[in-house]
């Protein structure tokens, strides 16, 4: 039986964790503010019988009383500019999957939400693990835990406990960065992806501080005087040419990718000699024959595999060749060229132990296997 344990250093921090500082960007307001009253009043001048008459102003219901608005009571023809909800939600900051080591927390994926509408809006945010599916070429096989949303309302580029998990009062044209922080599974495999979906739901601004209620489409009760809602998210993204009514909800995806050790282990047995044929070509695996075992642990991953322990259950029909590598040296440990020997004799503090018919290597002091290196354990036995 073979067993290996990897534990990755918590201090490993990769370039991707460099904090990207982006402040809220101001852009030109997009369109006339919702709620603006647009007025129009025509004036008609005329003569009757060659004599100029007092002008008459228009009224939505018709007016025939001459004179100014005060005199005639004529009203302007008005409408109120309605709320065109339009926004974009895109991956930002480090583009591509954020690298995480197994169990790592504090890493984030970043999104930017920009309000292209004509009204200040709140946005409710929901971040979830995608189950399956491909994001940026990476197929989702892992799930993050402790997914937490931080909205960088203060523009400091940092995720702090006081950052809200919703977008508060984002004015027309402005954008804000959103960080989704999560913890990688402790077993996250090297190269495995955990994809994240962030959903933004437009919500009503104004009112007391805090997230407003989800904005609802009141097209059914639309009127000329009040502010109606038109869900046109995607209009800006399309270059203003496609006006497909939406639902005030947008999704964007990003993900984390595991950076871990990736170990493979092999064990080979070579017949060295037998008591009759020596090392000759006719040697046989008969009692008294010598067999050399080589256990190889290769790390093809990106991280150091730490605290490796290799356990090899030995047959009761074999006996370790004593002092094969010299006095007190029954097992050779070759860690990428760094060779140590260990012994089956007591005291058992030399990183090998032979307990209950099993060889255990690495129990007494840590063995780390660097990326792209191989740990080789060699010992010889005789067949009983």
């Amino acid at each position: 039986m073979k067993r290996y344990i990897t534990r990755i250093s918590w201090v490993t921090r990769l370039i991707a964790s460099a904090v990207v500082v982006l402040f809220s960007q101001h852009a030109l307001a997009v369109g006339t503010d919702a709620g603006t009253t647009i007025s129009n009043q025509a004036q008609v001048d005329y003569n009757v019988g060659g004599n100029p008459q007092t002008f008459i102003l228009s009224d939505p219901a018709g007016n025939s009383i001459p004179g100014d608005a005060l005199t005639s009571g004529a009203l302007a023809t008005t409408f109120v500019v309605d709320n065109r909800v339009d926004f974009t939600l895109v991956e930002s900051g480090f583009i591509g999957h954020t690298v995480v080591t197994p169990g790592q927390n504090g890493e984030f994926v970043q999104f930017t939400l920009q309000n292209h509408g004509n009204s200040t809006q709140d946005f409710r945010l929901v971040a979830t693990n995608l189950v399956g599916g491909i994001v940026a070429g990476q197929t989702d096989t892992e799930d993050m835990s402790g997914i937490t949303v931080y909205v960088d309302n203060n523009g400091d580029g940092l995720t702090t406990a006081t950052d809200p998990n919703f977008v508060e009062e984002l004015i027309e044209g402005d954008s804000v960065d959103i960080y989704v922080v999560a913890t990688a599974p402790v077993t996250m495999a090297n190269g495995a992806a955990a994809n994240i979906n962030l959903q933004a739901i437009v919500a009503d601004a104004g009112g007391p501080p805090g997230l407003g209620a989800d904005t609802t489409d009141d097209a059914g009760s639309a009127d000329t005087a009040g502010i109606d809602v038109v869900f046109a998210e995607g209009l800006f993204a399309s270059g203003g040419t496609v006006f497909t009514l939406g639902d005030g909800i947008l999704d964007a995806q990003d993900g984390f990718i595991g950076s871990s050790a990736a170990l493979s282990i092999t064990k080979t047995a070579s017949l060295i000699s037998d008591p009759f044929n020596g090392t000759g070509a006719d040697r046989k695996a008969i009692p008294g024959a010598v067999v050399e075992y080589v256990i190889s642990v290769a790390n093809s991953g990106a991280e150091v595999a730490e605290d490796i322990v290799i356990t090899d259950t030995l047959s009761t029909e074999i006996t370790i060749v004593d002092d094969y590598f010299g006095v007190g040296g029954e097992v050779q440990i070759d860690n990428d060229g760094a060779i140590t020997l260990c012994s089956q004799e007591a005291p058992d503090t030399d990183n090998c132990s032979f307990a209950a018919g099993a060889l255990s290597v690495g129990a007494d002091s840590a063995i780390d296997v660097d990326p792209a290196t191989t740990l080789t354990i060699t010992f010889r036995v005789t067949i009983n």
């Binding site: 129009n40 025509a42 009757v48 939505p60 018709g62």
Partner: protein, 168 residues
């Protein structure tokens, strides 16, 4: 709010045709020769019973930036005398941009202003000076539209002036 008063009076007259008090009040309101009305609408694509797309004008209930609205001014001669030299002047709201070529009015000569309604001229005669350079006026420069009716409006008849504008 004399219009409201007056509407109320008409209602009263309809109910009490011999109402002396109401008649006296009505006589205090001077009435001109034309009934002038402005409505604002927008185009809406609807699917008719045959499944065909049809564009129709509806009330401008829902208007968001980028939408076009259509203003229609009607002027009905409600007097016994013909009105002549009828001129309709319509400002274009600051948040609206006139849609080029959209002004329409049967029997009218249409001119525009780029100076807040002080002077009017045909579109190709208007220019704007910005930062010391003069360029031909564009629709976004127009502040007012004026329809100069070429013919008199006989008693009992109605004229119409219309234009489109896009909400910025």
């Amino acid at each position: 709010m004399k219009t409201i008063q007056r509407l109320a009076i008409f209602s009263a007259l309809a109910l009490f045709t011999t109402g002396a008090v109401a008649q006296e009040t009505a006589q205090e309101v001077p009435t001109g020769h034309l009934l002038v009305k402005t409505i604002v609408q927008k185009e809406e694509v609807v699917i008719d019973d045959n499944g065909d797309q049809k564009v129709q004008l509806v009330d401008a209930r829902v208007v968001v930036p980028g939408d076009e609205v259509i203003y229609t001014v009607t002027f009905q001669n409600i007097s016994d005398a013909a009105a002549d030299n009828v001129v309709i002047t319509n400002p274009i709201a600051a948040d609206l941009v006139y849609v080029d070529g959209s002004a329409f009015g049967p029997g009218s000569n249409i001119v525009f202003s780029v100076d807040g309604g002080q002077t009017f001229a045909a579109t190709n005669e208007l220019s704007v000076t910005e930062n010391g350079t003069t360029r031909p006026a564009e629709p976004r420069d127009f502040t007012h539209i004026r329809w100069q009716m070429q013919n008199e409006i006989p008693a009992g008849t109605q004229g119409v002036a219309r234009f489109r504008a896009r909400l910025q």
